[in-house]
Symmetry: none
DNA sequence: GATGAATGAGACTTCATTCAT
DNA sequence: TATGAATGAAGTCTCATTCAT
């Protein structure tokens, strides 16, 4: 089981072609797999097509990945869960206010994930998780859990520092998550349901949602019961 | 030389029970198909499983539906598009204010569609449309188009009666649609992404969204047009 | 096993419709089956299509014919082998010269069989006999054998009466048969191999062949060895 | 709820022997297919049986031929139409008299095609063309058309060189073709219709027919045109 | 007698996975 | 390490035949 945690490192263009390709195989396979999984879904993607797009034979793919499911897991690690150590470290060290931190987190997410093909993987899981329980468990453990944890830590920091009211955390995590899920869907779904509209500008959409969320979370000096709809997402 | 005699194949006169309920069959098959399509998606649902769940054999299914795709279309007609005539008529005859009408439409939608298995079909199309172009075209024509049209007519009524500001219609249709799509997903997606939160109460969620939308749509006596992006959902 | 030897008798048009249809069922089924077997072959003809063309249900067909093969046999009896008693009787009683008799036989064959759909059945057997050994045996017994016998008796009569030379009979039978087989094929085969020509006039074609055959058969007062090609078909 | 895990399916590591003879496979499959198509016809031949006879599994066949129809086309190309370039070249370069050329053509045809299994393919098309229109079109284009063209060119050469009378060409083509079709049938049809006779020696049969045809075609010094129908084969 | 709903073996085709080279 | 030929279970759909009504 090749762990393939090997985040593609840029490589000097001076190497001999054959040698370059040889070492790059797993990365090329992962890139091809990402493309195809996002484009057609997990079940509808054929491993042979992945291999062909990566310029290798079907047999070679199985040399690096024990099965189609392992290939998928590697794609998830390469493109999503592999980034958590860095993200966690980055936010562990964050110095500014928590509202700024949350805004930054959303911005970073959009730049690194939401706007990239990675978001197609998350969207795919929404659809196919039911048919592939093992993948669902893996995704839950490697992506959903750490993601929730990270958000929860940010929120907890806000509470601890007196910036946020000490509200229910599960609910708040979801409030942060909702627009992300929504954007992932919009990016990768059948045009007929979304695109026939004025294009939603994702950055603005996110900004608005973060603002709304912050409004809801912020510790207010004296708050009469004046919130109603804003909390329900 | 395998001498065939390929046709005559005497059947053992064992127990064969002809249930003989012609009129009930299509409905039972459609119900089973709806269940399974929603549960596993179109591609991952096997026709034989549909047949078995309906209590008949594989061949019987093809007595009523010419192919798996036709079965799916029939499910869509039975559960979604077949209701449009009634909906259209109902809203054609609606007497109250347009804001009330919109609220009523959303409530009705949730009761009849959003909260039912039908919404799983729409969710399924988001994922699989790309792999089944003919189904995508069918769904676009039979569901998406009429749905957009109906919403558009409601909005136009509001504008015509001076209740709504004459804003861009495509955009407004989408503003109405967005929460519906979101709820459909929440209903039918991998729990790991949604349910690990306080349950969102769909009715409240919808009510809040309708209220927000109405705020945006309402014709205001004197409005210094100073918001733009924030309105995007 | 309904023997269906019932050569369709013309029926007075005075009877009640329902009653007429009831008694006519087997005949209508046989007619439909003949059409379809000739048109598409045995294996490619679906029993349901036969039933539909006859205006009855699939179940009714199996009421009259135990299987698709039995249906085919009934078609053969109805259209071909059922005529042998009459033909045999007619030629038993023939009074003229044997050459005339042979000419008459060929003419009769063309009128009653060669030019009719029956000839499609014989052509069909050429193609499909290998796949349906039981049908092949049946056809051999009910059609080929009696046909050969009839021809052989005619030829023997010519020899006995001193009109034909006492040549090998098997060979002569074949000489008579060849053009019949050929015409059956031409009638019912893929146009691309035959029809792109000046139409062969079957009657002339037959006449020429009979003449050639008679030339070969005729008892000649003094024959030096002057025959060569004429005898080889 | 049959939880699928639909993809991963560990295979017992039992005996699997990869024969590994890529280059030989297509030929072996084509040979097996030729045998079976000739023996049972197109529709009645099962691809699995072809594969088994070639010593491979069902899936392997589809590695080389995209469908049963493509397999059939490949058989036709391999055994019949692929030879046309060579035949055309050979007759383009022919130096002798046209009557000799025609005799040679028939002899060559018998040696290479008529007496081989290839002729079973042509016989098969007579029966099944109607049920497989795409195959019929293919055969017409790849075999029938070039074949007619070749014969026509030979006849035209005879006319041009003053060896043949300038008779209608379509008709003459057919005169040449008829015995070939007849022999193909005799080779591959139900014995009951043909073999119960003294065996027809195909070479003699062909020779006789060619002679007859040549008699008809030959330019005669002074011919009071008094024959017409008798010439029709 | 007549119907037609129901059956299920079997056809073609796909594709993840294996393994000799 | 890399290949790609080979496998075979599984999926969709067909159709002769049965039998309750």
């Amino acid at each position: 089981m090749p762990s393939s945690q090997a985040v593609t490192k840029p490589r000097p263009a001076t190497l001999v072609r054959h040698e370059r390709r040889k070492d790059a195989r797993p990365g090329e396979l992962l890139a091809a797999a990402l493309d195809l999984f996002v484009e057609k879904g997990f079940a509808a993607t054929r491993v042979e097509e992945v291999a062909v797009r990566a310029g290798v034979s079907k047999g070679t793919l199985f040399l690096y990945f024990a099965s189609k499911e392992e290939l998928f897991k590697a794609v998830v690690r390469e493109n999503i869960s592999g980034h958590f150590p860095q993200w966690n470290a980055e936010f562990e060290a964050y110095q500014g206010s928590t509202p700024d931190m949350l805004r930054y987190a959303m911005t970073l997410w959009w730049q690194q994930q939401g706007s990239s093909k990675s978001s197609g993987i998350a969207k795919l899981m929404l659809s196919e998780a039911g048919n592939f329980p093992e993948l669902a468990a893996f995704f839950q453990q490697e992506v959903v859990q750490p993601g929730h944890d990270l958000i929860r830590r940010i929120l907890q920091r806000g509470v601890d520092r007196g910036e946020f009211a000490p509200i229910d955390k599960k609910y708040s995590v979801y409030a942060v998550l909702a627009p992300m899920i929504f954007l992932q869907l919009m990016q990768h779904s059948n045009p007929c349901c979304f695109d026939a509209t004025d294009p939603v500008v994702p950055e603005e959409f996110l900004a608005a949602h973060v603002q709304t969320t912050l409004d809801g979370l912020r510790l207010r000096p004296s708050s009469p019961a004046s919130d109603k709809g804003s909390r329900s997402v």
